[in-house]
Amino acid sequence: MAVLIKSETFNPASLQAAHESSLNTGSFGATATFIGSMRNVNEGDDVIGMMLEHYPGMTEKELEAIIEDARSQWPIDDALIVHRVGDIKPGEPIVLTAVWSAHRAAAFDACRFLMEALKSRAPFWKKETLKDGTHRWVERNTPGY
């Protein structure tokens, strides 16, 4: 189980592979991943950049608690959450959630749970920079279901 907060851009596939290399190959039969990346349009406006603020300490604590909640609900072998902070450009990854389990049902469901729980519990906040140079805080998440 791992939680990583990244202040620079990251390669989701590389981090997934690196984490998987530490696992007992053959023990799991399913891997589910979700990657969230930055769009260049939001609410009809062109967005050229974003600053992701977080609450150091609480962020890691919440993400670790979310993984523990997933472990209590599904028989998962392992999980990884990676999240960006700082200045982000369109197209760059923001978040990676990955779950390894024996079978696909737990992998899919737990991976979805990690993502949805993160959206409401982990203290991150987005501030967008629009094409005209103005800034605005993102006030709400889009519904996940």
Binding site: P123, R140, N141
Partner: protein, 76 residues
């Protein structure tokens, strides 16, 4: 003893000259901490934490706590 107070994101930009510490003997709840730290009313949507755990405004606080206020979460 004091209670440390933090504001994040849009709240940090909106609250004018908030106190970063308040007298712990004068605050029984998170709402009390808000009232001691700023002259502005607490927004209806505000979220709060004590010692890195999500809490509600009516929850108790104690000397030495770290209390934080922040707007709805928008990560992921």
């Amino acid at each position: 003893m004091t209670i440390r107070v933090k504001f994040f994101a849009s709240l940090r930009e909106q609250i004018i000259n908030p106190s970063t510490e308040v007298d712990g003997s004068q605050a029984k709840t998170i709402s009390d901490v808000w009232a001691l730290a700023t002259d502005e009313p607490m927004p209806a949507h505000v979220l709060c934490s004590v010692n890195l755990d999500h809490k509600d405004p009516g929850d108790p606080v104690a000397d030495g706590d770290e209390v934080a206020f922040f707007p709805p979460i928008t990560g992921g």
